[in-house]
């Protein structure tokens, strides 16, 4: 086995890692809002991501909507899906909610597989990124003025982290408001929050809908990054990678999500550059094995994560 370090020194490698890390940061911000702040176990985040990405691609390809409108609509549709799924499942607690949401995500995946006229079935969809390519070219022309014109991935990197920055600012602001304090109260003691006259169910629903909107944006960016979406792009594994990012960064810390995501994806992408004498499916297995080991190791040895506080760990006992 040899290790080829030249790839690790190339800027485009790190820009690629940065894009994926940014996408998973946005994705996991939603999980942080649900799990870390509100105390609801959303195991269906990949399903909302699929709803967002497919909604954007279908609106552009089948209905010829302008890309920016399709992007905004995809987030709105995913939030609506969050409200529908949440309305059906949020009265359940803990593990039951986890099972209901993961089942809902699998249903989304089943629809994506079987409603082929709309979704392309297992072949998936492509060609929805024409408007983005034009924009990226425009951005690259501006970037070449500062000597970065040959980094073709840089526009997506910039857009991804800009969206993450906006979402982070929004959520950090919201946390300090009375609204954010009610979410924390629900996490600490749902019955007490209800006894204070708070409509616990409505707050949980809002929390899930915002998370679904963030998942949709992450899904849109993922779709632009991989240029072809098919049902397996949004498997349950994606949700659990999000949970690995979440616990690595620490429950309750929004900024920790970015730290966890950059750390995890640096390791995962670097692992694919270690030239093991292995076939592609086995390299993928090594990556997911790392995700599993991270989940176990963090939960066993440092359940509060890198930036979390131990007092934030009082998640439903």
């Amino acid at each position: 086995m040899t290790i080829d370090l030249t790839a690790l020194a190339a800027p485009d490698f790190w820009i690629g890692v940065g894009i994926v890390a940014g996408i998973y940061s946005i994705f996991s911000l939603g999980l942080q809002l649900n799990v870390g702040l509100t105390g609801i176990l959303n195991f269906g985040q990949a399903g909302f991501m699929a709803v967002g990405a497919y909604a954007m691609a279908i609106l552009i390809l089948r209905f010829h909507w302008p890309a920016p409108v399709a992007l905004a609509a995809s987030a709105a549709i995913a939030m609506l899906a969050g409200v529908v799924i949440g309305a059906a499942s949020l009265r359940l607690s803990g593990d039951y909610l986890a099972m209901a949401t993961i089942a809902a995500a699998q249903l989304v995946s089943g629809v994506a597989q079987n409603a082929a006229p709309l979704t392309g079935g297992n072949q998936g969809l492509l060609g929805y990124d024409a408007a983005w390519t034009t924009l990226a070219r425009w951005m690259l022309a501006r970037l070449s003025a500062v000597g970065l014109g040959d980094q073709s991935q840089l526009p997506l990197f910039i857009v991804t982290w800009a969206i993450f920055g906006l979402a982070l600012a929004l959520l950090t602001g919201l946390r300090g408001t009375p609204w954010g304090r009610v979410l924390r109260a629900i996490r600490e003691d749902e019955a007490a929050a209800a006894a204070l006259g708070k409509n616990v169910f409505a707050y949980k629903l809002q929390s899930l809908a915002i998370a679904a909107g963030l998942a949709a944006l992450a899904g849109d960016l993922l779709a632009l990054n991989i240029t072809l979406i098919y049902p397996q792009s949004f498997s349950a594994d994606v949700t659990f990678i999000g949970f690995a990012v979440l616990v690595l960064g620490g429950l309750g810390s929004f900024a920790g999500v970015a730290l966890g995501s950059v750390l995890l994806w640096s390791v995962l992408e670097a692992a694919s550059f270690v030239r093991l004498p292995l076939a592609a499916d086995k390299v993928a297995a090594v990556q997911m094995l790392i995700v599993g080991l991270v989940l176990i190791a963090v939960m066993v040895w440092r359940p509060e994560g890198l930036r979390g506080k131990r007092e934030e760990m009082v998640l439903r006992g």
């Binding site: 089942a103 249903l107 089943g110 297995a285 939960m299």
Partner: protein, 335 residues
């Protein structure tokens, strides 16, 4: 009943019994209604053939669900690694059968024992130390997810992602009266699976271990105070759940005729559905839920495209959680 619900105390025992009785009637009514609708619309022979197929699917659903339910009942742990324990058992049997040329019966036993050992090892290496540290439910749940990833990807690392097959004659079939057919392999799946389920049900009902497990499921600290060696019973629960998962894995991959590293995880949500349908933590409920779900999936294929078969399981899972979260046979007292 209303007052009890308002003040948050569990309903009295007679209400509980009444609810269980109502549940049983509900199952019976649903089964009869579904069957009647089938017979009326698709003809007796088609319906009977779908029912036979449902029995095959239901048998391995039930085997998988009973283990999942036992672990939940005793430890209050929703084990997301259970599906991958099925995969593990199937791969061990496949390795012994197709790789080392063992006949199918000893290879199956090898898979069962290996999976039981894996489950016991997880108890000794992870679950017992984590309980001693009083780890929270969220920690435990995510560890099961991590363990699922580790098992599945170790299998993929060792065996690759290409589909593999047990060395079985999948073409021969047995003719049943009335022009119905069942594959020889599937017949053995039903015989072995139902036999194992019957043995487990008897043991849980009359054996000392079964009584101790129920005592733990009811109240772990009380069972400990009463002098039950809880560590031994929990270890035995894992051995049992692992053995059943291993058998379910071998039988389901034999019936499906194909095995990939994702096989068990794809079954997991159906096992959740079966477990919840029967009332989570209730082993007999899981048995009934598994069989019922198997029938439901095969019957559904008579009405909608068979590609939606799996989705039927998810819909049943969600509907059961919404309408009757304690399951058809479950006790209302569970949180």
């Amino acid at each position: 009943m209303l007052n009890a619900a308002r003040s948050g105390t569990p309903p009295p025992a007679d209400a509980r019994a009444a609810a269980t009785g109502a549940g049983r009637r509900w199952v019976a009514a649903a089964c009869i209604a579904a069957l009647a609708a089938l017979l009326a619309s698709r003809g007796a022979e088609t319906a009977a053939q779908a029912t036979i197929n449902g029995l095959v699917t239901g048998t391995y659903f039930a085997l998988g669900a009973v283990g999942l339910s036992l672990v939940f009942g005793v430890l209050r742990l929703v084990n997301f690694a259970h599906g991958d324990m099925l995969t593990f058992g199937a791969y061990v049997a496949l390795f012994l059968n197709a790789g080392s040329g063992w006949p199918i019966v000893p290879a199956t036993l090898g898979g069962v024992l290996a999976t039981a050992a894996l489950a016991a090892a997880s108890e000794l290496a992870i679950w017992r130390p984590m309980r001693a540290r009083r780890a929270g439910g969220f920690q435990m749940l995510l560890i099961t997810v991590g363990l699922a990833f580790v098992i599945r990807n170790c299998i993929q690392l060792a065996a690759g992602a290409d589909p593999l097959q047990l060395r079985l004659d999948v073409t021969s079939a047995v003719a049943l009266p009335g022009g119905l057919r069942i594959g020889t392999v599937e017949l053995w799946v039903v015989v072995a699976g139902l036999g194992a389920l019957l043995a487990v049900a008897t043991l849980l009902r009359y054996g000392r271990l079964g009584k101790e497990m129920r005592a733990l499921a009811d109240n772990l600290s009380l069972a400990e105070v009463a002098g039950i060696d809880t560590r031994r019973v929990i270890l035995a629960t894992w051995l049992f759940a692992g053995a059943l998962a291993g058998l379910a894995g071998v039988l389901s991959s034999a019936a499906a005729g194909i095995l990939t590293p994702n096989f068990g995880f794809q079954l997991l949500l159906s096992l959740f559905a079966a477990t919840i349908l029967g009332g989570i933590g209730n082993a007999y409920g899981a048995l009934a839920g598994g069989l019922l779900l198997g029938f439901a999936e095969e019957w559904s294929a008579l009405f909608v495209d068979a590609r939606w078969k799996l989705a039927v399981g998810f819909v049943i899972l969600i509907l059961t959680l919404l309408v009757r979260p304690n399951g058809l046979l479950g006790r209302p007292a569970l949180k």
